[in-house]
Symmetry: D2
Subunit: 92 residues, 4 copies
Amino acid sequence: MHGYEEHREQHLAALRRVEGQVRGIARMVEEDKYCVDILTQVSAATRALQSVALHLLEEHLSHCVAGAVEDPTVLAEKLAEAHTAIARLVRS
Amino acid sequence: MHGYEEHREQHLAALRRVEGQVRGIARMVEEDKYCVDILTQVSAATRALQSVALHLLEEHLSHCVAGAVEDPTVLAEKLAEAHTAIARLVRS
Amino acid sequence: MHGYEEHREQHLAALRRVEGQVRGIARMVEEDKYCVDILTQVSAATRALQSVALHLLEEHLSHCVAGAVEDPTVLAEKLAEAHTAIARLVRS
Amino acid sequence: MHGYEEHREQHLAALRRVEGQVRGIARMVEEDKYCVDILTQVSAATRALQSVALHLLEEHLSHCVAGAVEDPTVLAEKLAEAHTAIARLVRS
């Protein structure tokens, strides 16, 4: 059982919205919309994806990581793994 | 005619791929995949979106902006508008 | 004459502030301050640097780029160069 | 005792380098260097600061957070606090 199960429906709803945003951006490109307006929508979709990532990460830290406290080796692994994911988010 | 028309098919293909990535992320959430693996996919989709934005911006600068050179007022407007879009990308 | 001359004093003042922020962060590390408080200051310094970059870029676009309009080859070069700088900012 | 003590000298050295980079950027502005070259240096300083932040965070997770495992309340607080710092880094 993963940390995000509790809010799974929320994550799915947020991801469906991002999917719709990306489809909307493709439609704007097809319909020759003005580039700056397309860029505004791309920034919005990027921020929405970032927000999903931060929520998943929060739950990961408070469930998977906090759930590994009995075993220092597993905990160290979980923290190292979480750090790799965080570095990727910060740099993307 | 907008700057991105020339590469419209490429942009559409890239956006379809991002849409597929986001749908894939939703599927991972539904199937209870491991959070860290989901985060990896979210980072990849974010970078892909950023890359679409940078291509659209490049074409916008070289077509719409460069196409406004005869009129200093229009050029100033286009550059101010491009700058707003850039600031949004840098901060998102 | 570069685009940023007009606001040179403002840029210098902003950069002195960032320099002070970074020195303050080093002092916090020396004095064993709490890591989360240090991270807050690092985020603030990063945003301040980003803000300097966006101001420099805005002036670059409106002076150097807009000043190259008589020569399409030079303009294309300036825009390509600006785009490289923008991509670096978006990805950093 | 904080997580970063072990690598304090490395963090201080990295921060001194960033301070030198920012001072170098101010010098470039004073000496009227070309804006695009200044932007390249700003991107480098931003990435260097980000890298310090990620190292501090890594140590924070593996010391302060991992050190709070005996007390679930404290651990939850530490994780929530770390998440706030991470969200700030991701968004800056």
